[in-house]
Protein backbone atom coordinates (compact mmCIF):
# COMPACT_ATOMS: atom_id res chain seq x y z
CA UNK A 1 0.00 0.00 0.00
CA UNK A 2 1.32 3.44 -0.87
CA UNK A 3 1.73 6.32 1.45
CA UNK A 4 -1.66 7.78 0.62
CA UNK A 5 -4.62 5.69 1.58
CA UNK A 6 -7.08 5.02 -1.22
CA UNK A 7 -10.25 6.94 -0.51
CA UNK A 8 -13.46 5.08 -0.18
CA UNK A 9 -16.07 6.23 -2.67
CA UNK A 10 -19.63 6.77 -1.58
CA UNK A 11 -21.88 3.72 -2.01
CA UNK A 12 -24.31 4.84 -4.72
CA UNK A 13 -23.57 3.57 -8.18
CA UNK A 14 -22.56 6.59 -10.20
CA UNK A 15 -19.90 9.02 -9.12
CA UNK A 16 -20.18 12.18 -11.14
CA UNK A 17 -16.92 13.65 -12.13
CA UNK A 18 -16.50 17.36 -12.70
CA UNK A 19 -14.44 17.79 -15.82
CA UNK A 20 -12.43 20.95 -16.00
CA UNK A 21 -10.95 21.36 -19.40
CA UNK A 22 -8.72 24.31 -19.00
CA UNK A 23 -8.33 26.97 -21.64
CA UNK A 24 -4.61 27.54 -21.20
CA UNK A 25 -2.29 29.26 -18.80
CA UNK A 26 -1.70 32.57 -20.53
CA UNK A 27 -4.02 35.25 -19.21
CA UNK A 28 -3.85 37.25 -22.37
CA UNK A 29 -4.29 34.50 -24.91
CA UNK A 30 -7.69 33.77 -26.27
CA UNK A 31 -8.37 30.12 -26.84
CA UNK A 32 -12.00 30.68 -27.63
CA UNK A 33 -14.77 29.72 -25.27
CA UNK A 34 -13.64 27.27 -22.64
CA UNK A 35 -15.05 23.96 -23.75
CA UNK A 36 -15.81 22.90 -20.26
CA UNK A 37 -19.02 21.55 -18.89
CA UNK A 38 -18.24 23.52 -15.78
CA UNK A 39 -18.00 26.83 -17.58
CA UNK A 40 -21.53 26.83 -18.90
CA UNK A 41 -23.09 26.24 -15.52
CA UNK A 42 -24.47 22.83 -16.39
CA UNK A 43 -21.66 21.05 -14.60
CA UNK A 44 -22.11 17.59 -13.35
CA UNK A 45 -21.54 18.45 -9.72
CA UNK A 46 -19.13 15.95 -8.27
CA UNK A 47 -20.68 13.67 -5.70
CA UNK A 48 -19.07 14.14 -2.35
CA UNK A 49 -17.01 11.35 -0.93
CA UNK A 50 -18.57 10.49 2.41
CA UNK A 51 -16.67 11.60 5.48
CA UNK A 52 -18.37 10.03 8.48
CA UNK A 53 -17.05 11.06 11.89
CA UNK A 54 -13.98 9.05 12.87
CA UNK A 55 -13.20 7.98 9.32
CA UNK A 56 -10.06 8.58 7.33
CA UNK A 57 -12.07 10.96 5.16
CA UNK A 58 -13.19 12.87 8.23
CA UNK A 59 -9.54 13.24 9.20
CA UNK A 60 -8.72 14.57 5.75
CA UNK A 61 -11.65 16.98 5.42
CA UNK A 62 -12.09 18.26 8.95
CA UNK A 63 -8.60 18.04 10.40
CA UNK A 64 -5.97 17.97 7.67
CA UNK A 65 -3.18 15.47 7.26
CA UNK A 66 -0.41 17.74 6.09
CA UNK A 67 1.86 20.36 7.50
CA UNK A 68 4.36 22.32 5.47
CA UNK A 69 7.91 23.41 6.07
CA UNK A 70 10.21 26.19 4.96
CA UNK A 71 13.31 25.49 2.95
CA UNK A 72 15.86 23.29 4.72
CA UNK A 73 13.87 23.58 7.94
CA UNK A 74 12.18 21.11 10.23
CA UNK A 75 10.67 23.84 12.36
CA UNK A 76 6.93 23.81 12.94
CA UNK A 77 5.48 27.23 12.20
CA UNK A 78 2.28 28.56 13.77
CA UNK A 79 0.16 27.26 10.91
CA UNK A 80 1.62 23.77 11.28
CA UNK A 81 0.92 23.84 14.99
CA UNK A 82 -2.72 24.68 14.38
CA UNK A 83 -3.07 21.61 12.19
CA UNK A 84 -1.21 19.41 14.64
CA UNK A 85 -3.38 20.65 17.50
CA UNK A 86 -6.42 19.54 15.53
CA UNK A 87 -4.79 16.20 14.78
CA UNK A 88 -4.03 15.63 18.44
CA UNK A 89 -7.61 16.41 19.43
CA UNK A 90 -9.01 14.08 16.78
CA UNK A 91 -6.62 11.27 17.69
CA UNK A 92 -7.63 11.66 21.32
CA UNK A 93 -11.27 11.32 20.29
CA UNK A 94 -10.54 8.21 18.24
CA UNK A 95 -7.99 6.27 20.27
CA UNK A 96 -8.13 3.10 18.16
CA UNK A 97 -5.97 4.68 15.47
CA UNK A 98 -2.25 4.52 15.28
CA UNK A 99 -0.44 6.88 12.98
CA UNK A 100 2.51 6.82 10.66
CA UNK A 101 4.12 10.23 10.27
CA UNK A 102 5.77 10.55 6.91
CA UNK A 103 8.39 13.22 6.32
CA UNK A 104 9.23 14.49 2.88
CA UNK A 105 11.66 16.98 1.44
CA UNK A 106 12.43 18.75 -1.80
CA UNK A 107 15.25 20.89 -0.57
CA UNK A 108 18.75 21.82 -1.63
CA UNK A 109 21.28 19.08 -1.03
CA UNK A 110 21.83 15.44 -1.72
CA UNK A 111 19.20 12.71 -1.52
CA UNK A 112 20.77 11.63 1.77
CA UNK A 113 20.47 15.15 3.15
CA UNK A 114 16.83 15.27 2.05
CA UNK A 115 16.21 11.91 3.66
CA UNK A 116 17.65 13.19 6.93
CA UNK A 117 15.62 16.39 6.69
CA UNK A 118 12.44 14.43 6.06
CA UNK A 119 13.14 12.39 9.15
CA UNK A 120 13.73 15.49 11.27
CA UNK A 121 10.42 16.89 10.06
CA UNK A 122 8.53 13.73 10.97
CA UNK A 123 10.23 13.63 14.34
CA UNK A 124 9.34 17.24 15.05
CA UNK A 125 5.71 16.43 14.34
CA UNK A 126 5.86 13.33 16.51
CA UNK A 127 7.36 15.24 19.41
CA UNK A 128 4.70 17.94 19.12
CA UNK A 129 1.86 15.42 19.04
CA UNK A 130 3.33 13.59 22.03
CA UNK A 131 3.43 16.86 23.94
CA UNK A 132 -0.24 17.29 23.08
CA UNK A 133 -1.09 13.95 24.61
CA UNK A 134 -0.82 11.43 21.79
CA UNK A 135 0.84 8.34 23.19
CA UNK A 136 4.21 7.57 21.61
CA UNK A 137 3.10 3.95 21.37
CA UNK A 138 0.62 5.04 18.73
CA UNK A 139 3.14 6.76 16.52
CA UNK A 140 5.94 5.83 14.18
CA UNK A 141 7.93 7.92 11.76
CA UNK A 142 9.35 7.37 8.32
CA UNK A 143 11.19 9.58 5.89
CA UNK A 144 10.86 9.44 2.13
CA UNK A 145 13.25 12.33 1.64
CA UNK A 146 12.98 13.68 -1.89
CA UNK A 147 11.93 10.36 -3.38
CA UNK A 148 10.97 11.51 -6.88
CA UNK A 149 8.08 9.08 -7.17
CA UNK A 150 6.41 10.65 -4.15
CA UNK A 151 6.69 14.29 -5.09
CA UNK A 152 3.34 16.02 -5.10
CA UNK A 153 4.49 18.39 -7.83
CA UNK A 154 7.65 18.26 -9.82
CA UNK A 155 9.20 21.46 -11.13
CA UNK A 156 12.08 23.75 -10.33
CA UNK A 157 10.39 26.49 -8.36
CA UNK A 158 8.63 27.27 -5.11
CA UNK A 159 5.22 26.37 -6.52
CA UNK A 160 6.36 22.76 -6.40
CA UNK A 161 8.89 22.79 -3.58
CA UNK A 162 6.28 24.29 -1.25
CA UNK A 163 3.96 21.35 -1.82
CA UNK A 164 6.68 18.75 -1.41
CA UNK A 165 8.27 20.04 1.80
CA UNK A 166 5.71 18.41 3.98
CA UNK A 167 4.86 15.97 6.73
CA UNK A 168 1.84 13.76 6.37
CA UNK A 169 0.05 12.07 9.25
CA UNK A 170 -1.37 8.84 7.92
CA UNK A 171 -3.93 6.87 9.88
CA UNK A 172 -2.78 3.34 10.43
CA UNK A 173 -5.09 0.80 11.98
CA UNK A 174 -2.69 -2.10 11.70
CA UNK A 175 -1.90 -3.96 14.85
CA UNK A 176 1.77 -4.48 15.53
CA UNK A 177 4.97 -2.47 15.60
Amino acid sequence: MGSERVLKMSPPAAVLIAMAILGGCNTTSSNGPVASAAANGDAAIATAIDAPPGSNEDFIVNVGRRVYFSESSAELNDTAKVTLDKQAAWLTSYPAYKIKIEGFADDPGSPDANKALGLRRAQAMQAYLAAKGVSPARMRVKSFGNDQVRLVKKCADISCWSQNRRGVTVLDTEVGS
Binding site: E4, V6, L7, M9, V15, I17, A18, M19, A20, I21, L22, G23, G24, C25, N26, T27, N31, P33, V34, S36, A38, A39, N40, G41, A43, I45, A46, T47, A48, I49, A51, E57, I60, V61, G64, R66, Y68, T79, V82, T83, V152, K153, K154, C155, D157, I158, S159, C160, W161, S162, Q163, R165
Partner: protein, 207 residues
Amino acid sequence: MTIDRRVLLGATTAFAVTCALPARAALQEQDFFADTAQDGNFTYRRTNMQAIDPVWRRQLVHYVHQEMPGTVIVDTRNHFLYSTFENNTALRYGVGVGKEGFKWYGRAQVDRKEVWPAWTPPPEMLLRRPELPRHMDGGPDNPLGPRAMYLYRDGRDLGYRLHGTVEPWSIGSDVSSGCIRLLPEDVMDLYQRTPIGTNVLVLEHLV
Protein backbone atom coordinates in the same frame (compact mmCIF):
# COMPACT_ATOMS: atom_id res chain seq x y z
CA MET B 1 -31.99 22.11 2.25
CA THR B 2 -32.24 24.80 -0.43
CA ILE B 3 -32.70 28.51 -0.21
CA ASP B 4 -34.26 30.64 -2.86
CA ARG B 5 -34.06 34.03 -1.23
CA ARG B 6 -32.13 35.63 1.52
CA VAL B 7 -33.47 38.68 3.25
CA LEU B 8 -30.81 41.01 4.54
CA LEU B 9 -31.62 43.50 7.21
CA GLY B 10 -29.73 46.75 6.73
CA ALA B 11 -27.25 45.12 4.39
CA THR B 12 -25.13 47.22 2.07
CA THR B 13 -23.99 44.48 -0.28
CA ALA B 14 -26.16 43.58 -3.27
CA PHE B 15 -26.02 40.07 -4.56
CA ALA B 16 -27.77 37.79 -6.99
CA VAL B 17 -29.22 34.37 -6.35
CA THR B 18 -27.82 32.27 -9.13
CA CYS B 19 -29.97 29.19 -9.05
CA ALA B 20 -33.68 28.61 -9.41
CA LEU B 21 -34.96 26.65 -6.44
CA PRO B 22 -38.36 25.80 -5.04
CA ALA B 23 -39.89 28.51 -2.88
CA ARG B 24 -39.06 28.36 0.79
CA ALA B 25 -39.51 30.67 3.72
CA ALA B 26 -36.96 33.44 3.54
CA LEU B 27 -33.96 33.14 5.86
CA GLN B 28 -32.88 36.13 7.81
CA GLU B 29 -29.34 37.33 8.29
CA GLN B 30 -29.09 36.04 11.84
CA ASP B 31 -30.12 32.53 10.73
CA PHE B 32 -26.75 32.15 9.07
CA PHE B 33 -24.77 32.49 12.25
CA ALA B 34 -24.31 29.95 15.02
CA ASP B 35 -22.29 30.45 18.17
CA THR B 36 -19.10 32.43 18.58
CA ALA B 37 -15.59 31.03 18.70
CA GLN B 38 -12.13 32.25 19.54
CA ASP B 39 -9.31 32.52 17.08
CA GLY B 40 -6.14 34.18 18.23
CA ASN B 41 -7.06 37.52 19.72
CA PHE B 42 -10.51 37.65 18.20
CA THR B 43 -13.98 36.31 18.77
CA TYR B 44 -15.87 35.65 15.58
CA ARG B 45 -19.32 34.38 14.63
CA ARG B 46 -19.35 30.84 13.34
CA THR B 47 -21.55 29.84 10.45
CA ASN B 48 -24.78 27.94 10.97
CA MET B 49 -24.00 25.21 8.43
CA GLN B 50 -27.65 24.13 8.32
CA ALA B 51 -28.46 27.39 6.57
CA ILE B 52 -25.87 26.75 3.90
CA ASP B 53 -26.95 24.72 0.88
CA PRO B 54 -25.08 21.38 1.09
CA VAL B 55 -23.50 21.92 -2.32
CA TRP B 56 -21.50 24.85 -0.87
CA ARG B 57 -20.15 22.96 2.12
CA ARG B 58 -16.54 21.89 2.20
CA GLN B 59 -16.30 18.31 0.93
CA LEU B 60 -13.97 15.79 -0.59
CA VAL B 61 -14.71 15.13 -4.26
CA HIS B 62 -13.37 13.21 -7.16
CA TYR B 63 -12.13 15.96 -9.50
CA VAL B 64 -10.47 15.29 -12.81
CA HIS B 65 -8.39 18.19 -14.12
CA GLN B 66 -5.21 18.87 -15.97
CA GLU B 67 -3.22 20.62 -13.29
CA MET B 68 -0.62 19.05 -11.06
CA PRO B 69 -1.84 18.12 -7.58
CA GLY B 70 -1.14 20.84 -5.06
CA THR B 71 -2.70 23.50 -7.27
CA VAL B 72 -5.67 25.52 -6.07
CA ILE B 73 -8.25 25.81 -8.84
CA VAL B 74 -10.94 28.49 -8.70
CA ASP B 75 -14.08 28.04 -10.78
CA THR B 76 -15.76 31.43 -10.44
CA ARG B 77 -18.65 30.61 -12.73
CA ASN B 78 -19.73 27.64 -10.65
CA HIS B 79 -18.65 29.19 -7.33
CA PHE B 80 -16.22 26.48 -6.34
CA LEU B 81 -12.64 26.45 -5.18
CA TYR B 82 -10.69 23.21 -5.28
CA SER B 83 -7.65 22.38 -3.19
CA THR B 84 -6.30 19.47 -5.18
CA PHE B 85 -4.63 16.33 -3.91
CA GLU B 86 -3.12 13.39 -5.71
CA ASN B 87 -5.32 10.69 -7.27
CA ASN B 88 -7.74 13.19 -8.81
CA THR B 89 -9.26 14.09 -5.51
CA ALA B 90 -9.82 17.54 -4.17
CA LEU B 91 -11.31 19.38 -1.28
CA ARG B 92 -14.05 21.53 -2.74
CA TYR B 93 -15.25 24.72 -1.10
CA GLY B 94 -18.19 26.95 -1.98
CA VAL B 95 -17.18 30.53 -2.75
CA GLY B 96 -18.83 33.88 -3.28
CA VAL B 97 -17.37 35.87 -6.14
CA GLY B 98 -17.14 39.63 -5.97
CA LYS B 99 -16.82 42.08 -8.80
CA GLU B 100 -13.05 42.10 -8.40
CA GLY B 101 -13.10 38.32 -8.49
CA PHE B 102 -14.36 38.41 -12.06
CA LYS B 103 -11.81 40.92 -13.24
CA TRP B 104 -8.99 38.52 -13.80
CA TYR B 105 -8.31 34.90 -14.53
CA GLY B 106 -5.19 32.86 -15.07
CA ARG B 107 -2.30 31.56 -13.10
CA ALA B 108 -0.84 33.08 -9.95
CA GLN B 109 1.01 32.17 -6.80
CA VAL B 110 0.24 32.73 -3.15
CA ASP B 111 3.16 34.92 -2.12
CA ARG B 112 1.58 36.29 1.05
CA LYS B 113 -0.80 35.10 3.73
CA GLU B 114 -2.29 37.01 6.63
CA VAL B 115 -4.21 36.12 9.75
CA TRP B 116 -6.97 38.60 10.56
CA PRO B 117 -5.89 40.78 7.67
CA ALA B 118 -6.25 44.53 7.49
CA TRP B 119 -8.22 45.89 4.58
CA THR B 120 -7.76 48.89 2.35
CA PRO B 121 -10.69 49.30 -0.04
CA PRO B 122 -9.50 49.85 -3.58
CA PRO B 123 -10.04 53.36 -5.06
CA GLU B 124 -12.90 52.36 -7.36
CA MET B 125 -14.77 50.87 -4.41
CA LEU B 126 -14.32 54.06 -2.42
CA LEU B 127 -15.80 55.98 -5.32
CA ARG B 128 -18.85 53.73 -5.32
CA ARG B 129 -19.14 53.71 -1.55
CA PRO B 130 -17.60 56.79 0.02
CA GLU B 131 -18.85 55.80 3.47
CA LEU B 132 -16.22 53.03 3.67
CA PRO B 133 -13.18 53.61 5.87
CA ARG B 134 -9.90 54.31 4.09
CA HIS B 135 -8.28 51.55 6.10
CA MET B 136 -9.64 48.92 8.44
CA ASP B 137 -7.63 46.86 10.91
CA GLY B 138 -8.13 43.13 11.04
CA GLY B 139 -10.96 41.85 13.16
CA PRO B 140 -14.37 40.21 13.14
CA ASP B 141 -16.06 43.18 11.41
CA ASN B 142 -13.48 43.31 8.65
CA PRO B 143 -15.00 42.02 5.40
CA LEU B 144 -11.91 39.94 4.63
CA GLY B 145 -12.64 37.79 7.66
CA PRO B 146 -10.07 35.71 9.56
CA ARG B 147 -7.61 34.93 6.75
CA ALA B 148 -6.44 36.21 3.41
CA MET B 149 -4.19 34.70 0.79
CA TYR B 150 -2.74 37.14 -1.73
CA LEU B 151 -2.15 36.24 -5.33
CA TYR B 152 1.01 37.42 -7.03
CA ARG B 153 2.50 36.87 -10.44
CA ASP B 154 6.24 37.24 -11.02
CA GLY B 155 6.51 39.00 -7.67
CA ARG B 156 3.76 41.51 -8.46
CA ASP B 157 0.63 41.72 -6.33
CA LEU B 158 -2.34 41.14 -8.61
CA GLY B 159 -4.75 42.69 -6.14
CA TYR B 160 -6.56 39.37 -6.14
CA ARG B 161 -7.31 37.63 -2.85
CA LEU B 162 -8.82 34.54 -1.38
CA HIS B 163 -10.44 35.71 1.82
CA GLY B 164 -13.20 35.12 4.33
CA THR B 165 -16.50 36.87 4.76
CA VAL B 166 -18.88 38.34 7.32
CA GLU B 167 -21.82 37.55 5.02
CA PRO B 168 -22.12 33.76 4.97
CA TRP B 169 -25.33 33.96 2.89
CA SER B 170 -23.27 35.20 -0.02
CA ILE B 171 -21.44 31.93 -0.54
CA GLY B 172 -22.47 30.44 -3.88
CA SER B 173 -23.43 33.85 -5.23
CA ASP B 174 -22.04 36.73 -7.20
CA VAL B 175 -21.63 39.78 -5.02
CA SER B 176 -20.86 43.38 -5.74
CA SER B 177 -17.48 43.61 -4.06
CA GLY B 178 -14.50 41.55 -3.03
CA CYS B 179 -12.61 38.80 -4.74
CA ILE B 180 -13.09 35.18 -3.79
CA ARG B 181 -14.76 34.81 -0.43
CA LEU B 182 -15.11 31.68 1.64
CA LEU B 183 -16.90 30.98 4.89
CA PRO B 184 -14.68 31.90 7.84
CA GLU B 185 -14.31 28.24 8.81
CA ASP B 186 -13.40 27.35 5.25
CA VAL B 187 -10.85 30.09 4.70
CA MET B 188 -9.20 29.11 7.96
CA ASP B 189 -9.11 25.53 6.76
CA LEU B 190 -7.77 26.45 3.31
CA TYR B 191 -5.10 28.58 4.96
CA GLN B 192 -3.74 25.43 6.64
CA ARG B 193 -3.47 23.65 3.32
CA THR B 194 -1.97 26.44 1.22
CA PRO B 195 1.69 27.11 1.89
CA ILE B 196 3.46 30.16 0.49
CA GLY B 197 4.29 29.39 -3.13
CA THR B 198 1.07 27.50 -3.85
CA ASN B 199 0.02 27.83 -7.45
CA VAL B 200 -3.52 29.09 -8.04
CA LEU B 201 -5.37 28.80 -11.31
CA VAL B 202 -8.48 30.90 -11.76
CA LEU B 203 -10.37 29.27 -14.59
CA GLU B 204 -11.21 31.33 -17.59
CA HIS B 205 -14.70 32.73 -17.30
CA LEU B 206 -16.94 34.82 -19.45
CA VAL B 207 -16.60 38.37 -18.17
